[in-house]
Amino acid sequence: MAAWTCRFLLYRGARVLAGRTGAVAAADSCLFQSVRTVKTTTWWEEHLTEDNKSYMRKSLGEEYNRQIAAKLHPLKDEPWPRQEWTKESRRVGLVAVKLGMAPVWTKTGERHVVTMLQVQDCHVLNYLSKEEYDGHTAALMVGGKNASPFYKSDEEMEMFRLAGVPPKQKVTTFKVSDNAIIKPGTPLYAAHFRPGQYVDVTAKTIGKGFQGVMKRYGFKGQPASHGQTKTHRRPGASGPGGDPAKVFKGKKMPGMMGNVFDTAHGLKVWRVNTRYNVIYVHGSVPGHKNCLLKVRDTNLPTYVEKNINPPFPTFFCEEDEQLPEDLYDEDLFIHTQPSLTL
């Protein structure tokens, strides 16, 4: 994490000189050059030779594969005792990557849109007991999508080293009940969710930067013509008037929009692809394409009865029965079926 600054200098003089003398310098073509001013920090490949760099990268990939292979069979590796699902138990969620959106059709011909979320290298990293976490519920830390260890500090790497998994790009905490705890290092798969269940998806929304009040809060603005002087997108009045004689805290005003965490609640899972670990979730989710999301079972009371008897505490690849490549919801039209006759 070398935070170095550089100065951009204009080397116009040097170029003219080179032209006069007739000598051609290698760095002559660009007018701008950057000069490093802070030299205390360094990045991992700064002082390595080429073959050392390639060796480091290759050994990194091999190490990842070894770690993932070692964790492929969690049930043979002294797993923690598995308990039965009850109505009050809360199980862990997943970290997924938003791939994109696609249309789906139901058996009655209605068209819906779904978002495809892929679960890439999701592992349980750490267990925090009730006392360690907040005094009320236990928690499990889960990470998704492998990342490079060269840009992580030693404190961050400690958790990954203890769990024996490659370092992850996103690490989140899920509150779980005591009967749903999983040993750190267990891989989590997309079959953890089944079609027909309802999930909540949390992600950072797309950042829009500093935005005015019309885009940010949907204010109506002012008319475009009929005498308006320089006032078309302004907020207008900011409060009652002389009685409070102040503007209340939390007044909606222009500011930074987006790039905050937002949750989409109550999204139905239409389809799960166990081969590529893809979950098809109803509607849209916050975040841009290829962003990392947090997926967990719904908290909404209306969908509580849809989420009964899930794979508990999670789906284990080796022990549970071999699932087919695609799991579909019962209302979903599968493309191998003949065309609908309504």
């Binding site: 990557v97 791939l99 994109g100 696609a102 249309p103 059709w105 011909g109 068209r111 495809m116 892929q118 692809n273 590529y276 893809v278 394409k289 290829n290 039209f333 493309h335 191998t336 079926q337 003949p338 065309s339 609908l340 006759t341 309504l342």
Partner: protein, 290 residues
């Protein structure tokens, strides 16, 4: 290429194999002449296979001379999307194509579409018209058919992979000078009318698609869009009959001659097209899964 030569060898060896290969190849060839069913293969009791699609196959022609066509919705747009998403969508598209025959057609062809409709008598409705636009990528690909019925212009946008579509027939396969015929809305009605009793026009499966070079006469201005402007790049309108040369020159003010040199807009899809075409052909030639 190796696959083609292998298949050619098989054709030389046995006629039965040829017939099987013809039946498999019917999926991505499109004609509209009816052919009597060849009759079931005698001998071994097989599970029910759907009757072969009506197709004319010239037995003297080898597979190498058949026209290679990859539907444009298979080509992914130039975005930062994981190719895995397109691969999964392509699998679904191929599965749907094994059930419903989506023929080869271009903008300017005349199609007839039969769709399931719960409110129609007989539960299906049939519409035919000229395809004026093909849009969308992947499973959400659409095409718009235009026709004039009882003096009223009607355009219907169909989703190609919707399960409500039951049959797609190409009545006339041809291309036009443009790949977007939205200007037919402002053209004289005779150019958008398709006779509802039209019989399918036979077309060949080899060689180039015939290009209809008609240039359309327009109604008087105002039009829905300023079709004379270079951004629409319309070749198929008789501008000389509706606009004066000064107006045409004035429209050239909106030309953006630097766009052809814009390197960020370059998108070379030839390698992708070859790969996807081969993938689609191999997947379609595999028989329907048990």
């Amino acid at each position: 290429m190796a696959a083609c030569t292998r298949r050619l060898d098989k054709v030389m060896f046995s006629i039965r194999l040829l017939r099987n290969i013809q039946q498999k190849n019917e999926r991505f060839l499109s004609t509209s002449m009816r052919r009597l069913d060849e009759g079931s293969d005698g001998g071994k009791p097989t599970k029910f296979t759907p009757p072969p699609k009506p197709v004319i196959i010239d037995k003297t022609q080898s597979e190498a001379s058949l026209r290679k066509f990859l539907s444009p919705e298979f080509i992914p747009p130039r975005q930062r999307i994981n190719p895995l998403k397109f691969a999964i969508e392509r699998k679904d598209m191929i599965q749907r194509r094994k059930v419903l025959n989506i023929p080869e057609f271009y903008v300017g062809s005349v199609l007839a579409v039969t769709m399931a409709d719960p409110h129609a008598s007989g539960k299906t409705n049939r519409f035919m018209g000229i395809c004026i636009q093909r849009g969308g990528h992947g499973l959400g690909a659409t095409f718009v058919l235009r026709n004039i019925i009882d003096g009223q212009g009607v355009e219907i946008c169909y989703e190609m992979y919707s399960p409500r579509l039951q049959q797609l027939e190409v009545l006339k396969l041809e291309k036009r000078l443009d790949n977007n015929l939205m200007y037919l809305r402002d053209a004289l009605p005779e150019y958008s009318t398709v006779n509802l009793d039209m019989k399918p026009v036979p077309h060949s499966v080899t060689g180039d698609v015939p290009v209809n070079k008609t240039r359309v006469r327009m109604r008087p201005k105002p039009w829905s869009k300023r079709w004379e402007r270079p951004k629409y790049n319309v070749q198929g309108i008789r501008f000389d009959l509706c606009l004066s040369p000064e107006k045409l020159e004035h429209a050239q003010k909106w030309a953006e001659p630097w766009r052809e040199y814009d390197m960020l807009k370059e998108y070379d899809t030839t390698a992708l097209e070859e790969r996807f075409l081969k993938e689609v052909q191999t997947e379609m030639s595999k028989s329907t899964c048990p």
